[in-house]
Amino acid sequence: MNSALRNPLLFAVMAAMLAAVGFGQSWQVALTILNLCLISAVMALGLNIQWGYAGLFNVGVMGFAAVGGVATVLISKAPVVDAWAAGGWRLGISFVLLLATAAVVVLVRRWLGPGPIRSIATAVMVIGGYFLIRVFFDPATEAIEAVNSAKTGYLGGLGLPVLLSWIVGGVLAAGVAWFIGKVALGLRSDYFAIATLGISEIVIAILKNEDWLARGVKNVTGLKRPVPYELNLQSDVWFNDSAAWLGVSVIEASSIFVKLCYAVLFLAVLLFVVALSERALKSPWGRMMRAIRDNEDAAEAMGKDVKRRHLQIFIIGSAVIGIAGAMLVTLDGQFTPGTYQPLRFTFLIWIMVIIGGSGNNWGSVLGGFLVWFVWIEAEPAGLWLMDVITSGFDDDSPLRKHLLNAAPHMRLVIMGVILLLVMRFAPRGLLPEVVRR
């Protein structure tokens, strides 16, 4: 089948599956899945930019998503004035010292030639700077975390509209990507993968433990919303009338309305990113990226600065992932560093890109939708399956209980099998990359 027919068909199938959930289970569930599908699609697009366009093996998606997520806290929460007063200036000093240490290290390294002396000097300066910073940093964080620690105990944010945090999330993730890219992009692909995997774990460890920043594992809850609250809608006369006119209960109508608002916002971001990505991919810049991906040496021989391009695309892709991460936290209404797990936030996104078709933006969108849908619906499906298999057993037979309890873990097996099957039998994914000459 040609792609002009196949692509809309696959998306139609996807829409039908979501609609089936709407009719079969409930529209609440369908919309919840849809919202996360949209976010997943944006995240997959970000990874597709890195892997599909340029062949960068980034296994640190989780880290960038979390960095984007923390932006939501830093932007939308009201500042905690007492905390700033308690430890703000010392934190400022330690930040200045950090920059100063970095500057001194860079300058001294430039001044000394390569050799053992330079390595030793670098180590001494880094360790010395570290302890100097901690002289100010430790009391500062202690003071900040002591300020009403049950409720705040962190610096708070800027108190700005939450939608702004999506942009800031992208910018923050881009900044982190610049730093990581500078260090790690010189490595060959499998080392780069392992390095990014580790760095993403470090990012999560920092977010979990630096309570002064975003309360760590104590979580930040009650984030602002870009959409109305259900309770306000329910007390609104116009909304009540509309719900009555549609013949649905106000409570259900308000919940669906809120989810639809989110969906519209997410869809807008998704379409915006897709439009830009498609333009970029079809531009001379996109052709250059594919050339670099397919043959680095040849591209370099043509005068392309491979390292610079890699850094550029790593930053762009990470920014998109960061935006998606901020969107996710906004949807959840809370920032919970403990929930970031590499299987869910890194490897699942990889499966989305591979299944959708690396290098094809629409493929990543489809992959994001499909994989998230299967990931969620595998749980009820697995439960149902186990229920059918064990229906001959007693209700309190231990095997039946165990199988029913364990059914949700089947989703991991299903995902792995789908990935292996696609890699083997359709290595270019559901929507293969289209190469136009």
Binding site: L187, I194, V413, G416
Partner: protein, 337 residues
């Protein structure tokens, strides 16, 4: 003088002994990763979950033995179950190779494809383990708890600090020693071992000399699976078994293999201990240690801890990144391509 001995015992108890045990476990894990890298030329992301799989089998068999009243006290029953766990893990990895990896080997796919497939295998295995034994903590240690008890040590030596060595720690070191010596003898002396080293060094030349690639790959998987099951069981005995922890062990294991020089077995062992001791020494709070050594007026008030224990993973990765930047081949020149 007593103070000095106390300080020494303190550091032995909290850094040296756990470090040696943890280092042994990492070394065994890294040996498996490095072998697969040397022969099949890819970083096996499923190795942590292979360890979890092997340990899970051992735990189930151990429970079965325990329910029948089998006991080899003071040693843990898990040692009896270990051979069965190893056998099952070998069957499982060989099955995976037959179903998944062989196809790509015949096509001579690039290593990136292998890594992606190993991620798929990782998902499947992770799911199977969680499906069978659940995502929670499991303890399966029985038999004696300690080789040396802290209280007895204090009474015997008259020091203030006690030294405790867990039986599982002693066992870990002993088993690791036996396994590593056996493995190195095998690689150095036996025909198959030599063929494997030849294949790892130069594939084409080895093929030309009549080394059978399928056989080399077969043996590599058998050894890697056995190492994974042993490493996983020892780690589980020493600490506890939790599928997610085993997945996370992948990071320090990769770090160990790369720091030592990937593809180099000796490097994997040394790397394992380097990573383990760095984690231990950097996250240990030296307050009490310095109290013993320094005069009272100099004694520190703070914990004197370089990094909080929550940043364990950060340490292995900082070392990893520094080694990759300064000496990309690792300490013992490993493979570069």
């Amino acid at each position: 003088m007593i103070d000095f001995l106390d300080a020494l015992v303190l550091i032995t108890n909290y850094v040296l002994v756990p470090g040696i045990a943890y280092g042994s476990q990492l070394a065994l894990g890294a040996l498996g990763v490095t072998l697969i890298y040397g022969i099949l030329r890819f970083a096996n992301f499923a190795h942590g979950d292979t360890m979890a799989f092997g340990t899970m089998v051992v735990i189930l068999i151990t429970w079965w033995f325990q329910s029948m009243g089998v006991s080899i006290a003071p040693l843990p029953v898990a040692l009896l179950a270990l051979p069965i766990g190893i056998a099952d893990t070998i069957v499982m990895t060989l099955g995976t190779d037959r179903l998944v990896y062989r196809f790509y080997r015949r096509r001579r796919s690039p290593s990136v494809i292998y890594i992606l497939t190993s991620i798929g295998v990782m998902f499947v295995m992770n799911g199977i383990v969680r499906f069978i034994i659940g995502p929670d903590d499991q303890r399966f240690t029985d038999g004696a708890r300690f080789l040396i008890k802290a209280r007895e040590f204090k009474v015997a030596t008259g020091l203030h600090e006690g030294l405790a060595i867990k039986l599982t720690q002693g066992l870990t070191v002993l088993v690791t020693l036996v396994v590593v010596i056996a493995l190195f003898r095998f690689l150095q002396k036996s025909r198959t071992g030599k063929a494997m080293r030849a294949y790892s060094d130069n594939e084409d030349l080895a093929l030309l000399s009549g080394v059978s690639p399928e056989r080399v790959v077969f043996v590599a998987w058998v050894i890697a699976a056995a190492l994974a099951a042993i490493a996983g069981t020892l780690y589980g005995l020493d600490k506890s078994f939790k599928p997610f922890t085993y997945f996370q062990l992948l990071l320090p294991i990769f770090a160990s293999a790369i720091v030592g020089g990937i593809g180099n077995p000796l490097g994997a062992v040394v790397g394992g201990f380097i990573i383990a001791f760095s984690e231990m020494t950097i996250t240990y709070a030296y307050k009490k240690f310095l109290r013993y050594l320094l005069p009272d007026s100099w004694a520190p008030d703070s914990l004197v801890q370089f990094l909080s224990t929550d940043y364990k993973f950060a340490i292995s990765f900082i070392i990893l990144v520094v080694v990759l930047l300064v000496r990309p081949t690792g300490i013992f020149r490993g493979r570069t391509s």
